[in-house]
């Protein structure tokens, strides 16, 4: 415990999740501090993605609740959770493959500005100069500006992931959830994604990252929680986690590279 009480933006309190007889998550108590990057690591099948799905409202928890900045998220629709300021990057990129890359980035910006539903039939996308500029800047940042007119479905897998990240970032979410944002990326792409995530780290956005790649985790995380068999077995600063014997035993196989 630090001396000044940290501002907890997200609190998963006493969350349990059973799938039939399988206990996917038990006794989860996770607190995410505002402005920090919090990594959740753990071996395959530890329940990392389930935890993320519970937070985002894709899967209802069997018991317990997730509270975001004073609002209970449990039972809310995905779009409502997004409108509260939570965006998510998926494990397999969820983009709009039939739309041009530029429109992929503009659509989330419209959702941020106009809310969950608006019939703005008499405006045109082309005359939305401000949002277009913002989207083009974002595409410049992630290096996809040259492909802005192409259909997003024609992008490479790594580019799709970066596009999805851009789609989340343009919403300027208060909390960004990343489910293995660099999986399937080359080392070069991974490093550029780390750089991008570092850049937004300074903007004060809170991030929760699920990641296998220890290089990514230790380059980005301020806090790490270790999940094993549906339980959080350790939580703390990266250095503490690295040295925690239980973590080394359960997950890191005795040593950390």
């Amino acid at each position: 415990m630090s001396e000044t009480p940290p501002n907890i933006i997200l609190h998963a309190a006493d969350v349990h999740k059973n799938f039939g007889g399988l206990r996917a998550l038990s006794d989860i108590d996770l607190q995410i501090e505002e402005g920090k990057t919090h990594a959740i690591i753990g071996p395959n099948g530890a329940g990392k993605s389930t935890l993320l799905n519970v937070i985002i409202g894709r899967i209802p928890p069997t018991s317990g609740a997730v509270v975001f900045d004073g609002t209970v998220l449990t039972g809310k629709a995905p779009y409502e959770i997004n409108q509260l300021g939570i965006s998510r990057v998926f494990q397999t990129p969820e983009i709009f493959p039939d739309l041009p890359v530029l429109h992929n980035v503009m659509a989330p910006a419209f959702a941020r500005r106009d809310g969950a539903f608006r019939i703005n039939m008499f405006r045109s996308v082309e005359s939305e100069g401000e949002i277009r500029q913002e989207a083009e800047d974002m595409l410049n940042d992630i290096g996809l500006h040259g492909r802005r007119e192409d259909h997003a479905g024609s992008l490479s897998r790594g580019d799709k992931r970066r596009l999805e990240l851009a789609m989340c970032l343009i919403q300027r979410p208060r909390l960004l959830l990343l489910d293995e944002p660099t999986a399937g990326m080359s080392r070069h792409d991974t490093n550029s994604t780390i750089d991008l995530l570092r850049k937004i780290k300074s903007s004060g956005m809170t991030k929760v990252i699920i990641e296998h790649d220890m290089h990514v985790v230790f380059s980005l995380a301020d806090r790490i929680s270790v999940l094993a068999q549906g339980r959080i077995i350790a939580s703390g600063l990266p250095q503490e986690i690295k040295e925690d014997p239980r973590v080394q035993e359960a997950y890191l196989g005795g040593s950390v590279e």
């Binding site: 709009f96 989330p108 019939i119 039939m121 008499f122 405006r123």
Partner: protein, 380 residues
């Protein structure tokens, strides 16, 4: 607010010219009479509206003919009860269809994919059967809803405009009759407006959201869009277009029958849209014209006409050619249309509009290659 991009403006101008000069370019094709050209315009409106739902959101409704029927009945009732003027008739038709679409859409949109299609089909068949049975007092059953000389027409009576001439009253637009070419130009003008509205929707953030739903509904939800009302809005707008088309059918020919709601009519508009090009601006219009042309002109070609046409061939050959071709025209027009549909779906999944784009691209490439500079594509 009402402006269009330069490209859309050019498309609208071209479209307007093509529609208004229909009597000129349809005459060599033998279809330049107002009654048929009205149908061309009306079904184009129907298909444009259908495309807003199917083309943008990807939800395939198999019950859109119900809205044509509702629009028709409302129009005739407006003629019978209120006035022979077409403006209130059209307004009422669009509003009533909108309400119908809201109810049908609310329930149908609880399911996606094939279940959505089946639900819309079920609703449309229900409307069709009800029109023949329980709702006979409103629809006049098999006879169809007709005008009568002694209809009350309260608004007309109030303004003392009761015409006492012999025969049935005719629909009027601000006092002038809308038969013949006037009727066609009325439909043509409304078609151009409908095309413009569809252009506005295509280019708007609303249209972008509908395309997003077609492309990836999961991402739409996680991006903060509440997709349900978007779908419902698209469904209602598209139903209103169909209602307007139904109103125009009853305006140009003041009767309304349940056969307009038959499932084959719902299927027709699907064919029109796919044939022309799903999700394109021009596609549904082209598809509608093509099918209506086949239905009315191709089906009227008989053996005599073929014999005349091929009379330059030697006798034996002429007989063979005429015998073979006669299977494809006249009553066989469905065969030609079916073959064409199969060929287009297999080889041009994007419809005729895609075919046109491919052709243009090929021409451009051919013209561009010798120069060597114009056709350089960025490396992938």
């Amino acid at each position: 607010m009402f402006s269009l991009s330069r490209k859309d403006l050019a498309a609208l101008a071209v479209f307007a010219v093509v529609v208004l000069t229909m009597p000129l370019w349809l005459s060599p094709l033998g279809a330049a009479y107002p009654g048929l050209m009205q149908k061309f315009a009306i079904y184009a409106i129907f298909a444009i509206g259908f495309n807003i739902l199917f083309g943008l959101t990807g939800y395939l409704s198999f019950g859109h003919a119900a809205f044509i029927g509702v629009g028709s009945y409302t129009t005739v009732w407006s003629f019978k009860l209120l006035t022979m003027d077409i403006v209130p008739a059209m307004i009422f038709a669009v509003i009533t269809t909108g309400v119908f679409a809201l109810v049908i859409g609310y329930f149908s949109l609880r399911r996606t994919g094939i279940y959505f299609s089946i639900l819309t089909l079920a609703f449309a068949q229900m409307c069709y059967s009800l029109a023949y049975s329980v709702l006979t007092p409103i629809t006049n059953g098999e006879t169809g809803l007709l005008l009568a000389r002694d209809d009350p027409r309260y608004l007309d009576a109030m303004f003392g405009a009761q015409a006492n001439i012999a025969g049935l009253p005719q629909p009027t637009f601000l006092g002038s009759s809308v038969t013949g070419y006037t009727g066609f130009y009325l439909c043509a003008a409304i078609l151009i407006v409908a095309f413009y509205v569809s252009q506005k929707i295509f280019a708007s953030p609303f249209g972008m959201a509908l395309r997003g739903i077609k492309s990836n509904q999961t991402r739409m939800n996680y991006t903060g869009f509440n997709t349900k009302p978007y779908m419902l809005a698209a469904f209602v707008i598209s139903g209103m277009f169909a209602g307007l088309a139904g109103a125009l059918l009853s305006i140009t020919d003041p009767l309304a029958g349940a056969e307009r709601m038959k499932w084959t009519e719902s299927g027709n508009v699907v064919l029109m849209t796919i044939l022309g090009g799903v999700g394109t601006l021009f596609g549904p219009v082209i598809g509608a014209w093509l099918i209506k042309y086949f239905e009315n002109i191709f089906s009227a070609i008989n053996t005599n006409m073929l014999n005349n046409f091929f009379s330059f061939l030697p006798d034996g050959l002429q007989n063979v050619v005429v015998t073979v071709l006669s299977k494809f025209v006249g009553e066989g027009w469905h065969l030609t249309l079916g073959l064409m549909f199969v060929l287009i779906v297999v080889f041009l999944p994007g419809g005729l509009v895609e075919g046109f784009h491919r052709l243009m691209a090929r021409l451009k490439r051919r013209r561009g290659t010798p120069g060597g500079v114009t056709s350089v594509q960025p490396a992938e």
